[in-house]
Amino acid sequence: MLITRRVEFSSSHICRNPLLSEAENVRLYGPAANVNGHGHNYVLEVTLAGDVDPVTGMIYDLKDLKDVMMEEVVEPMDHRHLNYEVPPFDKVIPTTENLAVEIWGRLDRRFQGGPARLHTVRLFETEDTCVEYQGS
């Protein structure tokens, strides 16, 4: 069975590849290449997979899941500029794809050996755009 929790965080970022020309950056990233950056209200949905514990009736304590999401994602990223304040995005371009992979890495290690495993990270950059990552 799957269980999903949602959190939000507000961050700014710049999508530019320093190895490419200005024209190539604009062609690739459009207005997101603006050198001063811009921002989003990101919505993160994290899905765990596991069996329902017959005693508690739960797959995983939702409060504990929220605490992990807060510690690993919201606290370090909320109201921050991803490129300047949240490694590895000083070196990795903080596209939604790369952000989802980074969030997967941060969360996956927290569920190793536990009763449920990380199943899906779904990250919405806007209400029309989201990236889903399942670890491979």
Binding site: S12, G30, N36, G37, H38, N41, R80, Y84
Partner: protein, 143 residues
């Protein structure tokens, strides 16, 4: 027959709330995490409400194409995918609180209102700016 019509627009932007005349501690106390030095960002939702008579012939209170063109040029082209503090002159020294954004958007729209929408243009009655799911500001222009 008078009706109100609301049209929604979206833009994404980053900003930092900071007043040069205040100390670091005062800025932090006043603006909290919105004062973080490198800024942060939001997906903004802008709702524009107009009120006026429905044109007998067209059945419209306002030309949506005309309103879209005006909002695109006066608001979205200025704010979308921008760092408000550096890229938008009105927020270079004035903090880009949601309140101040509503005032600035009103001013941009009213300056070009009649030249864009014509003399029979409806009244601009409300400018609503939603910063997050929990925060929004609504500026009412007529009683």
């Amino acid at each position: 027959m008078t009706v109100s019509l609301t049209r929604n627009y979206r833009f994404v932007a980053s900003h930092r709330l900071h007043l040069e005349q205040l100390s670091a501690e005062e800025n932090q106390r006043l603006f909290g995490k919105c004062n973080n030095p490198y800024g942060h960002g939001h997906n903004y939702l802008l709702s524009i409400t107009v009120k006026g008579a429905v044109d007998d012939q067209t059945g419209l209170v306002v030309s949506l194409t005309g309103l879209d063109t005006l909002v695109q040029r006066e608001v979205l082209d200025r704010y979308d995918h921008r760092y408000l503090n550096f890229d938008v002159p009105e927020f270079a020294t004035t903090p880009s609180t949601t309140e101040n954004m509503a005032f600035a958007i009103r001013d941009h729209l009213l300056r070009e209102w009649c030249s864009s929408l014509g003399n029979s243009a409806p009244q601009l009655t409300n400018v609503r700016v939603q910063e997050t799911k929990r925060n929004s500001v609504e500026l009412t222009l007529i009683d």
